[in-house]
């Protein structure tokens, strides 16, 4: 019995060690305290929107940013511009085509520390079947619940977001600023 419990204890310790090793630097998303928002200009009027459903798989160590592995997924159908008519419009083929492409993804390819205690992530952003490189800048606040807070600017037409009549950037600007804030659990 003693041997048994000792074995269990040893096994448990090994398992814990193994799991902590294999998940070194993994940050699990606390979706309730995270956000992905975007902003753009419409005839000079600042417009705001957000996605309410997204997921992430992130391995990040501020001391070894180059070893970062990060993948993000966004549920396009969770888009919210604060108005039902606009939400419906945004999901149509001419904009995000939510039926054909319900998921947008970002895969980080390179993360490096930059001056000012910040980090720069380059990677591939896939929306609406188009993949283009982007460069995001973020800060990392360590602690029991580390927070990744950052932003990037994208040109919507590069992803064919707003096709046909909506290509007119004097009505809806080409630049879309995306702000993300991920509260994570170690």
């Amino acid at each position: 019995m003693k041997l048994f419990s000792r074995t269990i204890g040893a096994l448990t310790a090994m398992l814990l060690l193994a799991s902590s090793n294999s998940h070194a630097g993994e940050l699990k998303l606390d979706a309730t305290k995270s956000s992905i928002e975007f902003g753009f200009s419409q005839l000079g009027v600042p417009m705001k929107g957000r996605f309410t459903r997204f997921d992430a798989r992130v391995f990040f160590d501020a001391k070894k940013p180059e070893a970062t592995k990060a993948e993000f997924g966004v549920d396009i159908n969770s888009v919210d511009l604060g108005d039902k008519a606009y939400n419906d419009e945004t999901k149509t083929p001419v904009w995000l085509n939510a039926r054909m492409f319900p998921r947008a993804t970002f895969v980080a390819e390179k993360v490096a520390a930059i001056p000012g205690g910040k980090f720069e992530a380059t990677g591939r952003l896939s929306i609406k079947g188009v993949t283009q490189p982007i460069k995001a800048v973020f800060t990392f606040s360590d602690g029991a619940a580390p927070v990744v807070d950052g932003t990037f600017t994208m040109k919507r037409l590069g992803w064919k977001i707003g096709d046909n009549e909506w290509k007119d950037t004097s009505v809806v600007a080409d630049d879309v600023t995306v702000k993300f804030r991920f509260t994570t659990i170690r």
Partner: protein, 183 residues
């Protein structure tokens, strides 16, 4: 009776300019609401709001001007007509402000700031509120109808003076022709 027989040139310009702007904004408002979302719809909304802001500013200037410059005497008419005319003109000024302000509030409550000419952002006096939005929409709509109704009464009265009474009252507000006599 000595004094001017016409409104000042400033008042005449303000009258006709605002008349044109109000008619255009009114027609735009009725037309744009039922359009599907398109660049044209967004442009019409933007221009409608810009005209509204401009009407508000012109009305403020016009009110100040009106208080400083007494209007020329009207044609002889019964006291009750004189009285109704005066009340209608008061209501005009009330609606010059009420219609743009309710539109501005409606825009804010829908979560869209008003940006005059796409440059000057007005503050949002109220926050986005989905429950309040339909109410403000109705208030803005009926304020617009109210102003439209006043325009209708005003035009009918002007036509009556011109073609029934033939008293030339409209010359007070016509540009150019009759000399602007100094008293």
């Amino acid at each position: 009776m000595t004094g001017a027989t016409r409104y000042t040139n400033t008042a005449i310009v303000l009258h006709w300019l605002m008349a044109a702007m109000i008619l255009v904004a009114f027609a735009m408002g009725l037309y744009m609401v039922d359009l599907r979302i398109s660049p044209d719809k967004l442009k019409l909304y933007a221009w409608h709001k810009w005209i509204g802001v401009a009407v508000f500013m012109l009305a403020a200037f016009r009110l100040w001007w009106r208080l400083l410059n007494a209007p020329p005497p009207a044609a002889p008419m019964p006291a009750w007509q004189q009285n109704v005319s005066e009340q209608i003109h008061r209501l005009f000024y009330l609606f010059f402000f009420a219609v743009p302000v309710t539109g501005w509030l409606f825009s804010s409550v829908k979560g869209f700031p008003t940006v005059f000419l796409g440059i000057l952002q007005l503050p949002d006096l109220i926050q986005k509120n989905d429950e309040l939005a339909p109410l403000l929409k109705q208030i803005h709509l009926y304020a617009g109808y109210g102003l439209g109704g006043l325009v209708g009464l005003h035009v009918l009265a002007a036509l009556k003076h011109q073609f029934v009474e033939k008293d030339g009252l409209i010359n007070r507000m016509m540009p150019g022709r009759a000399p602007h006599q100094k008293g």
